[in-house]
Subunit: 201 residues, 2 copies
């Protein structure tokens, strides 16, 4: 069965961007620190050398890249310049947005703009088949998906850094105690800790 | 050499209390969820049964209780009713505060009120000898200790829960990217993940 899995890199103090994030500064000041892990360990432990297992970080990236569809918030989509229209392997991308495609993304056939999260999840799971759906986004996306009960799992890449400011992953998600089930912990190269949780319903 | 180690339980969304925390509601609404781990696993794996190792959670508690002094913020001290004047084993407690002892704590010989964090750390390390100093506190304490370079390590007990509101561990700590070094990850019973970081200088 296809699951929706939020994959996000977060500083220990809860930020998914650095300070002063904006349209021309998508990651915020110094925000690239959160994504260094993707390139750490991979070169040191090429898959060929360790029986196809690869580095921990490489395995996590591979897992994310084996999802069958992407759902993202509009802010995240714009900040990433829409990943050039292809997040990975040409899988369909569902952008949660009331607005139509921006001019720079008008020609991308894999990208769909949807205002209804239920419909986005239904379509994305259908498109993904037996693969999971990768969810990208911060406060608004997380809030809507959690509140609607549409987020199945969280994969948090916890980065050994304090930012002090930026955009929080969890903000305005509603005052309600939500229980999670920790289902995996992997110690990645470079100090990142990959934490996997199931959202309890 | 004695190190200052911040020991705090934190929800995945960064809170160390539940919502509506106040003088008569020190942990906030539902905040006791953050401390359940202290009692989880301990009963299941008594030390006698597993060669003196005990449960993971028990080991972490033992480690915290083997520190030789305590430094705490006034808010945390008051919320905990000063641990009755004895946090553990009668070790000295240094309360960061410009105010004198409250009436209910006037008779506690182990408790010292200090307005200067440098002096508190110096006195606490001296009192602790070759043991570490346990630091308890949230935003103000963490902010002051980090900014002054007086926090050596963090031991975060990351709880598999989202609170949505409460008092954040890391808030107003200053906009500066601070690198941490992950030095230990332990998967505790009940889904808590014990994360140990060294603060890089």
């Amino acid at each position: 069965m296809s699951l929706t899995v939020l994959y996000m890199s977060m500083s220990l103090d809860g930020f998914v961007t650095g300070p002063n994030e904006g349209p021309d500064n998508g990651l915020g000041d110094g925000g690239e620190r959160l994504h260094e892990w993707i390139f750490q360990g991979v070169g040191d432990h090429p898959k060929e050398a360790v029986g196809g297992q690869g580095s921990v970080n490489g395995q996590i990236v591979d897992e994310a890249m084996s999802t069958g569809a992407v759902i993202t918030g509009r802010g995240t989509f714009d900040a990433a310049k829409g990943w050039g229209g292809d997040h990975h392997n040409g899988v369909p991308i569902y952008v949660l947005s009331r607005n139509p495609a921006p001019a720079w993304a008008a020609e991308w056939p894999a990208v769909h703009y949807v205002s209804n999260l239920d419909a986005a999840v239904r379509d994305a799971k259908h498109a993904a088949g037996d693969k999971n759906v990768l969810v990208h986004g911060a406060s608004v996306m997380v809030q809507r998906a959690l509140t609607a009960g549409l987020l199945d799992e969280l994969e948090i890449h916890l980065i050994p850094v304090l930012f002090g400011d930026g955009r929080r992953l969890f903000e305005h998600i509603g005052i309600e105690q939500r229980q999670l089930e920790r289902i995996r912990v992997r110690e990645g190269e470079g100090g990142v800790t990959h934490l996997r949780y199931r959202v309890r319903r």
